[in-house]
Symmetry: C2
Subunit: 194 residues, 2 copies
């Protein structure tokens, strides 16, 4: 049986959406390895953005992450923020993708994140010794890029306009949810008690 997505399938948002929604373990049964090998960094960032879009559509925080193997360019893990979906008080795009990847050697991988990593995710990225992190939005920045670089991780900025727009729209719509996702419900309660 031939796979549905082959190395010759054109790279479109439609096919990247299928990849974003498929469980990671299902990718080897549905997508030819050669398809991933032709994807650019911007394409992997777009998959992370489509995961953010999925989360937005579910009422959640639109932040996504993708971990790839540097040698093979295959996806090792991916995910999106699940504050709302899992009632999860700290699962961001990066933690979600890293959890999905499981117990692998992250020093052979790159993580794509649609948003500048928070203090916790930035710390996890250097503690798990990632070779590289690619950030899709420093317009809404945490400013942790230099800290992560100082720990020996390569940090690249590759902004995705679609991701920036989704996050900016969400932030205007749900400022309390955004605040909780960043600094916890304590921060939201503090502001509302004034």
């Amino acid at each position: 049986m031939s796979l549905f997505v082959t190395k010759d399938t054109p790279v479109t948002d439609s096919v990247l959406t299928v990849i974003a929604h498929l469980p990671t373990k299902s990718l080897s049964k549905t997508v030819e390895a050669g398809f991933f090998q032709k994807l650019s960094d911007a394409d992997f960032m777009r998959i992370a953005v489509l995961l953010a879009q999925k989360s937005y559509d579910e009422g959640g925080c639109p932040i996504g992450g993708v971990v790839i193997d540097n040698a093979t360019r295959q996806i090792m893990g991916k995910g999106h923020n699940t504050l709302v979906q899992e009632n999860h008080p700290y699962n961001h795009g990066e933690t979600s993708a890293i959890r999905d990847a499981g117990r692998i050697d992250f020093s052979k991988t790159t993580i794509f994140t649609t948003l500048s990593p928070c203090d916790v995710c930035a710390t996890l990225i250097y503690m798990r010794q990632f070779a590289r992190v690619v950030v899709g939005d420093v317009t809404s920045a945490s400013g942790n890029e230099d800290m992560v670089r100082s720990k020996g991780v390569q940090v690249d900025i590759l902004e995705d306009q679609m991701g920036i727009e989704i996050y900016s729209k969400y932030r205007a719509e749900k400022p309390d949810q955004d605040n909780e996702d960043w600094k916890g419900l304590a921060e939201v309660c503090k502001h509302h008690s004034h």
Copy 2:
């Protein structure tokens, strides 16, 4: 129907083991609120240690955590490291208990952790604005206590000898697993390639 554990039930390791093993949501159906109100900090630390023991018995890393409400002394969340059990590359005692608690205001809570928090957990504790953290083992220390204090969190040391012994035994038995849990599989691979 009266609850099995009442405010008059003596505090023993046996009953604390039941509490450690029960799902958090089941506690209000099985344990009278008054029982928790009479527990000391050392008793909550012992529950965290019994969660560490559970993880050790499952072949995992013996580190546990418990989150309680400061006013009511009820347990809001608890858990243990799941590196092995969930193939989870960063779920420590603290992250496990915080995940279990869900979206609550952590500024009204205390977290008991059997082991000095790693960089990621220490960062999460101040980012979620915990009022207080109680550490059960600084003999095997990360040294993050001062950093967490500098962020405005009260840090208390309350060593539990049983917890220190379990962790120390485990470390001697499974040094690679301990190293992976702390610095990722990258660190283990680095050492083995020498």
